[in-house]
Structures are given as structure tokens and as C-alpha cells.
Amino acid sequence: MAEPAYTVASDSETTGEEKSSSPFPEIAIGIDIGTSQCSIAFWNGSQVELMKNTRNQKMMRSYVTFKDEIPSGGVSNQLSHEHEMLSGAAIFNVKRLIGRVDTDPVVHASKSLPFLVQTLDIGVRPFIAALVNNVWRSTTPEEVLAIFLVELRAMAETQLKRPIRSAVLTIPVSFSRFQVTRIERACAMAGLHILRLMPEPTAVALLYAQQQQQTVHENMGSGSEKIALIFNMGAGYCDVAVTATAGGVSQIKALAGSAIGGEDLLQNMMHHLMPNSESLFSSHGMNEIKSMALLRVATQDAIHKLSSQNSVQINVDLGTGSKVSKMVTREEFEEVNRKIFEKCETIISQCLHDAKVDTEDLTDVILLGGCSYIPKVRDLVRGICKKEELYKGMNPLEAAVCGAALEGAVTSGISDPFGNLDLLTIQATPLGIGVRADGNNFVPIIPRNTTMPARRDLVFTTVRDNQTEALIIVYEGEGEKVEDNHLLGYFKITGIPPSPKGVPEINVCMDIDASNVLRVLVGVILPGSQHPAIPVMEVRLPTVDDGHGWCAEALHRAYGSTLALETVQKKI
């Protein structure tokens, strides 16, 4: 599809190498692609600066409209009205669609958006299309993101008057490695080289580390360790991190996240105002799209108002003869979204637990993202963290992109005479990585929240006598059963010397290097021997392509448990 783009990308790779040896290395920019809004920032030589588009906006809407011959995105395109974005011609919320299969509940939730999200529920990528002159024009989330990134890049190049090759992007904590490959692909299509992909709250943690270090410099005090909880809830994702910071080093203690956000609050509210809305809009006719847009805008408006007032009157004529006229209170809004707010609490508690941090150890609680303006969200974060005061030193919408730009400058090797870039983030794995073993179980080898770079191994064995082959099926996630996790890839070990079951030692080693590349190494050893029975396999993951939803099922149908693995009980 976009083959030439890769050539461009590999070209930029070499240019990057040459540049870094020159006295003026290229400084990578920071990009925060949000579900709803996006922004771009760069290190201007003394501090991080947010870029503005020609309409003087720092926050640009994340959408691409296909209404004209050449698709245009929220960076350059001027919306005459909010409804224009909801006409069916524009694709948005791609961050909730990218790298997901059509059985994913998040994809299903996107079916009530004005553009087309078609699912066949067989575990393949969903079909998405924009309505242009009464024709559904198909596209992909990667393409939409790439178009948007091209606009961002062009804007940055015009303003900085230099070519932009490298970038640091922020991603949600809950993104699987497969989703990451889709982001990488979109960047490759846009000719951008990804220097780092940072989970959003870890970018914020870096900004926090810098701010704390500056405070230390000013007060000439000692750099005692500060522990902060970062809660970031935007339109599409809710992310939490606990970070320990001292002397410019930010150590990520734990990460937790989920695909819940303002979009869910909005959809629940729309459903509350018009219980049959989903079935009504499912046909995606011209009139239905119009009604849907009207309801969406009115609901969004009401939710914003409920952040500052206790009740709001909604009056909206949906055109097709139906009207919504209702008084909504803040309590009602909170009750309708009770499950979302409970989930937020669970994520925070889990993150604190994983970090082995008590609430009294928290120096600061940082609340960010579009949802941070919602009183209920503020209350629940304050409640769980037992902190009256929230951290005030950051702009809730700009912190993540500023952190990404800082990381961009740091990893580009820029040094600052005032020590403002004397920073380091020690990252942790947001999800566990393991293999299928002991029946249908997911056995993690690198657990969640392991400090990166990391290397761990675990010994498995055969389940049958004279089993000469074994399937290594690699998953990422937290579920106990494999189907609750993301499939990353699979390969077969062959030539295991025939021996009784349980005898061969199959050592599965997983390695995540400094640039977050995952490799799986598998070696087979027979007891008593000091030599590997067969050459070691080294596989770079993920290897799965689209349609990975049914790969695991197909493998199971083809092989059953004949090539299965079992964990070896650790002998002490």
C-alpha cells in the first residue's frame, strides 16, 4: 500500500546517523497524539515550547476529513462548525481503533460514531470508511494517523525551518506491542523516525523530574526522593503511573491503564438521554448521522457545563421529528458513569499496590487530561490518594507533550548549560509478557512493571513422551487465560531429542533492550548435558499481522495440545 514510504524512512535513518555526529544534532520533537486533541512541542535551546498552528492553536483536533480531493487533518483544516467533524466525512478517535480487531469491545463502542466502523466479529481489523458525496470511502486507522502526522510534520518544518526526521511520541499505557507496531507503521508512512514511544504518564514523570530538579537548584537543597502519582485521563484512555524522582532521575515504579475516557462518559450520557440512540443510528443514513451529531454536540456541551454547575437543561431538536428535552444533574451524570469512575479507582489502587507505595509516601498527586476538570474525577483521585491538594505546577493538557519534547532533547544528546536536560527516565514494562503453557494458561516470563532493559527466563518441558516439537506462543497482557491477552507471535521448536515427557528442559528467555525491542530466545537442553540439543531460536516480536484474532484459534484447531508446554516446578 505505502511501500515507497518505507524507503523514505530508511533513508531518514541514515541521515539521522550522520546528523548526530555533527556539532548541531537534530533535536527530536515531541508529539502527543490524543484521542480527541493533539499537540507538538520542541526544545528551543533553553526550554520546551509548544507549537501553534496557523490559527494560533496549541491544541489541534485529532481528525482527518475526506470531503475534498486531498484528505486534510485538524492541523490545517478549519472547521466551520463542530457539526462538520460529525458529518461522516471525517474520521476521528483513531487512537481507539488503531491495532484493534473487530471483536474488541472498544471497537464496538466506536460503532456509534458518525463515520462507518463495520465489524464482522471474526477477529480481523474493522472496516472503517468516511462518507463523501454519499459514498463510503474506506481507509484505515494507520492511514488516518499518517495523514495527520504528515500535517504535523509539515507545520513543524515550516516553523523551525529545518527538516524534521525524529520524534518522541506518547502512547497509552494499555497499548499492546502489536498496537505499537501500528503506530510505528503510521509514523513510517509519514516519514517520521520514532526515537521513543513513551507511555503518557512516564512523559509527565520526566517533566516532573525536571521541575523538581529545578526547585532543588533554586533552593540549593538536597535532592531527596519524591514519589508522585500521575493520573491522566483523556478522551480515550486512562493512565496511571507512580514515579520516584531524585536528582533528575525518574524511576517508574508502576504503570496501569485502561481504554476508558471521556468518550465513554459521552456515550453513556448519550444513551441515557436517548436510550434507543444506538439502534437508531446504526443504519448510518444521512439523516441519522445529522441527528447523531446534534445529540453528540449537545451532550458534550452539557458534560462540560456540569463541571462548573450542578445541573444543566438540554434542549436539542434532532431533526427527524424526535427531540431531547431534559434537565440533567451532576449526580445523574455521576450515576450514569458510575462504572467508569469505579474503574478509575481500581486502576489507581492497582498502581499504588504494584509500586508498593502507601498513600502517605506520596509527595505529589498530579491530575491531568481533559477529564481532570470533572469534579467527580478530582474527588476520586484525592480520595484514594488521601491528598487534599493536587499538584499545581503543570498544565493538564500540555504536560505529556512537554515531557515527550524533553525526552526528545535528552535522547538526541542535547546538553543544557543549566542542567535542565540532565534527566533520565528508567522505564518499566506496562504489560506482562509470557507464553502459553499448562493448558490454556498465560505464564508470564517478564512480569508487568519490570524495569527496562530486562531479561528473564523460565524453564518449560514437554507434555508428551517423545514430543519432538513444541509451539512457543507469545502473549502480552494480564489475563490468566491466553485468550484474555494480546497475541504477539508464535513459532515452533523442532528437533527436540525423543525422551519421556517432562525430561527436556526448554528454556524460554525474553529480552527487552534499551529501545524496547522484544526478542525471545529458546534453547533445549537434556538433563546431564551441558550443551544445547539444537540451535537456539531467536525471534524478534511481534510477528503477527492483521487478523491475529483468529491465529491462536487456528493453531489450537491444527495442533490441539500435541505441541504444548508445561512449566517446570522450580527445584530449590
Binding site: R185, V249, V410, R455, S515
Partner: protein, 181 residues
């Protein structure tokens, strides 16, 4: 891919030499057949001293005679938790691959950083530290599994990964053909 092939073969060859892949048993014997030496290093604060600490730690590993976890962090056995944390951070600032790349160190410091982090993980956890201290005194095998991991890592770190042959192999994301598109 070229680097993968050579990496595998070097792993396989290091197998036969040290059989590290077998995991805990062999490696533990290797480590603990040597007398456990506990050196007392005074805490150093300056940046220059910091670098020297790191380098000293590195030579230890390359000579494949890893000392105690205290030695890895360059601290005294009775070090306080803030001292342990400070030592960890100081070493991270030198050994973390992100920093090491910028400073133009060609060596792959990822392994050393992992080693330092493992030492820190054990020593910063009061229970694990107490367990470790006991094993240190008795000079017996520790129960934790981390030694098999680091053992395997040793072979990997010592195996010559051809960083130069492939642009940005270890520290930068490359456009690799085997990436799934």
C-alpha cells in the same frame, strides 16, 4: 538478518563454553565457588568519582567475578536505604543505555544496568535484603532465581553483538524488514 544470525551463533557457542543456558545450577556454582568478597567502598559524591565507580563495576563483570550485591552498587554492607538509592541512581546515570549512548560509549551497558538494578531490587527490599545477607554470611546459594537470569545475561553481554554492523541496532529503533507491517 545478519546480526540475529551471529547473535544466535554466539549465544550457542557461549553455551558450550559456560553452559549458562542451563540456568541456575552451573552459574551459581561458578559464582559461589569463589570466596565471597565484601569490599568496603566509601560513598563518593562527585561526578568524576561516579564514573570511576561505574567503570570499576564494569571491570568486575567483564572479569566475570561478580562480587556481592553491595559491591555491585559500590556501597558498604551496612548502607542505609537512602545510601542504596543514591548509589543506584548514581550508577543509573552512567550505565543506563540511554545515557551511555549519548556519552558515546560503544559498549552495551544494558547488562551492567540490569545487574545494578537487580542488586538494588534485592537490597532496597528489607526482607529480600535480610535473606540475602544471611546467604552472604553462610556463603550458600541464594534461593532467588535472579542468578540464573544474570547468568544468562552474562553470556549475552559477553557475546559480541555486532552493534556497528547494523545502524542503531541496540540503542535506536531501526526500520527493520522483519517488523510486522
Amino acid at each position: 538478518m545478519i546480526d540475529m544470525a551471529s547473535a544466535s551463533s554466539s549465544l550457542a557457542s557461549s553455551f558450550s563454553s559456560s553452559s549458562a543456558f542451563i540456568g541456575s545450577k552451573v552459574i551459581l556454582n561458578e559464582i559461589y565457588s569463589q570466596p565471597t568478597r565484601v569490599k568496603f567502598h566509601p560513598l563518593r559524591i562527585s561526578a568524576a568519582a561516579c564514573t570511576s565507580t561505574a567503570e570499576r563495576t564494569r571491570t568486575h563483570h567483564i572479569a566475570s567475578s561478580p562480587g556481592s550485591l553491595y559491591e555491585v552498587l559500590g556501597i558498604q554492607m551496612g548502607a542505609t536505604f537512602p545510601e542504596i538509592k543514591a548509589a543506584y541512581r548514581r550508577l543509573a546515570r552512567v550505565l543506563h543505555p540511554d545515557v551511555a549512548t549519548i556519552n558515546g560509549q560503544n559498549e552495551n551497558t544494558a547488562y551492567e544496568f540490569m545487574k545494578v538494578h537487580e542488586a538494588y531490587e534485592t537490597l532496597s527490599d528489607p526482607e529480600k535484603r535480610a535473606d540475602y545477607d544471611r546467604t552472604l554470611f553462610r556463603q550458600r546459594r541464594p534461593l532467588s532465581s535472579q542468578f540464573s537470569i544474570s547468568g544468562l545475561a552474562t553470556t549475552m553481554a559477553n557475546s559480541p553483538r555486532p552493534n556497528s554492523g547494523f545502524p542503531g541496532y541496540s540503542t535506536r529503533r531501526g526500520w527493520e524488514t522483519d517488523q510486522c507491517w
